[in-house]
């Protein structure tokens, strides 16, 4: 009894400043509502967010588009000359689109090709690994919460930290070679082998993001009523048939979300790879975002206009992927309502 009283007393003490603040802002807000009406209030409350969105998303988008229509190395827009669609045509000038070396901007097409294969492989593996992980975590495991945390933990790490951790593991004098050496295996230069670095970037990004997608799928799995599985058990349904005919169809909405999110994220791959391999060796892990970054900011002959054009193109790809997600989501909703 006394605990309750104490708690409520503490609560009211803590809430006192809040109440005071509410009373202070109540007066001007009421008069504002009187002047503008309810719809005006909605605009008022939305304004801060729209302002931030406008300054940090919409405006850069427009500026970026303007940049893509200009040439030269200068950063200030005022010092740049208008070139129209020249940057876009430069990106698309190719002898054959299947051979990056025949293109004027061979680095762009190399990056596009690398990103394409990265996306295909990484997303496929991501879906499979996340699904298997979610299915395992959905079982009655001992210490289930612990395992969930273990798989989710990398998601919380900064991409740079992820890159550094794996660099320490994979470099010539890293943990992996040390471990292998204990078993008599000769150290290997994992990060200077073209094939291994490509595999490593896929593996590292899997490790870093898989927990997030597994969590979405796990939530989907847990939303499937247990009764359905019991009904299937009463019917003598084999586990494989349960998976294909019950689990997978019911998980499909979550699975589609995961596919699209993973796709978008894979197209944007940059930070952890940049820290881990720097895009090398050669151009083996040189992906699209790195091309944009280096073209615009890092190379000796920087070309912000070209980088802007490339990023607009990448943005278009992402818009298409997002629209697909929206379309699928709406179709799913309609289906659910039916």
């Amino acid at each position: 009894m006394s605990t309750t009283t104490n708690t409520s007393r503490l609560g009211s003490l803590l809430m006192a400043p809040v109440h005071l603040l509410m009373r202070i802002i109540d007066v001007p807000l009421r008069s504002l509502q009187k002047a503008t009406g309810i719809s005006g209030m909605a605009a008022f409350f939305l304004a801060p967010n729209m302002l931030i969105f406008g300054i940090f998303v919409l405006l850069p988008l427009v500026i970026n588009f303007v940049y893509s229509m200009t040439g030269g190395t200068a950063f200030f827009l005022a010092e740049r000359n208008f070139v129209g669609a020249e940057q876009y045509s430069r990106l698309f000038t190719c002898g054959s689109y299947l051979d990056p070396m025949s293109c004027q901007e061979d680095a762009f097409w190399t990056a596009v090709g690398n990103t394409f294969w990265f996306v295909i492989l990484q997303v496929t593996l991501m879906i499979l690994v996340a699904l298997v992980t979610a299915l395992i975590l959905n079982r009655d495991l001992a210490a289930r919460s612990f395992w969930r945390a273990v798989f989710f933990f990398p998601v919380l790490l900064s991409p740079v930290v992820v890159g550094l951790i794996w660099k320490w593991i994979l470099q010539r004098q890293g943990l992996l070679n040390f471990g292998l050496y204990q078993f008599g295996v000769e150290p290997y230069t994992w990060l200077t082998d073209r094939n291994w670095t490509f595999v490593a970037t896929i593996g590292v990004s899997l490790w870093a993001h898989m927990g997030f997608y597994a969590l979405i799928l796990l939530a989907g799995l847990q939303a499937i009523p247990k009764d359905l599985y019991e009904a299937a058990e009463m019917d003598g349904t084999k586990p494989a048939r349960v998976f294909w005919r019950i689990t997978l169809p019911l998980l499909m909405p979550n699975l589609l979300v995961v596919v699209v999110l993973a796709l978008i994220r894979a197209v944007q791959i940059f930070d952890e790879v940049y820290v881990l391999t720097g895009g090398g060796p050669g151009t083996s892990t040189f992906y699209l975002t790195q091309y944009i970054y280096e073209t615009g900011f890092a190379s000796a002959l920087r070309n912000p206009g070209l980088a802007a054009a490339a990023s607009i193109l990448m943005g278009l790809v992402l818009v298409v992927l997002t629209l697909i997600q929206l379309g699928i989501g709406q179709r799913g909703e309609k289906k659910g309502k039916r």
Binding site: D227, L228, E230, A231, E233, M234, D235, G236, G336
Partner: protein, 360 residues
Amino acid sequence: MGEIKLTDIKKSFGSVHVLKDIDLHIKDGEFIVFVGPSGCGKSTLLRTIAGLEKVTGGEIEIDGKRVNEVTAADRGLAMVFQSYALYPHMSVRQNLAFGLENSNMPKAEVAERITEAARMLEIEPYLERRPGQLSGGQRQRVAIGRAIVRRPTAFLLDEPLSNLDAELRVSTRAELAALHARIGSTMIYVTHDQVEAMTLAHRIVVMRAGKIEQVGTPLELYNTPANRFVAGFIGAPHMNFLSAEVVEQEAGKTTLLIGGSHRLLVPISGQKLSVGDKLTVGIRPQHITLANDPGSLTVKVRLVEALGSETVIHADLNGEKLLAVVPGQRQISPGDEAHFSVAGAPLHLFDGNGLRVKDK
């Protein structure tokens, strides 16, 4: 055949004993209802019979064969779940076919069974719809249909009507009874609704805290409840319980004192009763009549519920609550003094442990 025998069934979840020494013999073709308050173990008992839960101890026999280690699918039973457990992404037809396809049944036979069940349950127009497009009542039929197509030795129904509205529940209840009469298979039905139990069952199993309190036909339970719990559980409104004391004992007759001053002569000569024993008298509200006789129980009226065809009177007898359901409409209001007569009413006597005091 659909004979099910439970011997000494025990079930524990960790240190919690959910079922304790359950013995029950369900005859072929019988409609048996497990009834009891929430958490009494009735659903768990059904699930152990189904094979969805493993028993901790005891034997389950179906048609004379021990099935403790037999999987749910191989016990030949079908279950109707409280939530219906229909596959939401499949059409009604696919839902009905799903279980049959598992056993590689020829397509023609699957189609035939679906047609037969759909006709029986009048769900033919909905066969191509998904569960989400059906009403609660229609879904419920599909769930029953899914059990019927399997032609099981027994049906297990776990509170199948609890998700329906009151009106639909009454009509579906009648349909279930008709369905049982038509199919003739054993049905085990779980509910916490004693009206469902009374109307549907051949025999009712009343459970409490993992134990069977009494097994009997609905009228056996109503007329001769084995203990105070069963007496209070079966019958609506609940039976009245008044504390009583034995004040006189003669051959064949016992006089009790209830309500502080009222003497009640009961035709019982319970051998174990002696003057001074404390008892509980159970009287069903429907067995109380209003009287003008000052010699009857004088009560104070607390609340009057006029239902039109009958009047429910909540009253107070010397600190004890007493409920009477009297036919017709009565001019009586809260605060009034009234006289309740229990002359000729069947009285139920329970000893200090709540057990029925039997006559001899």
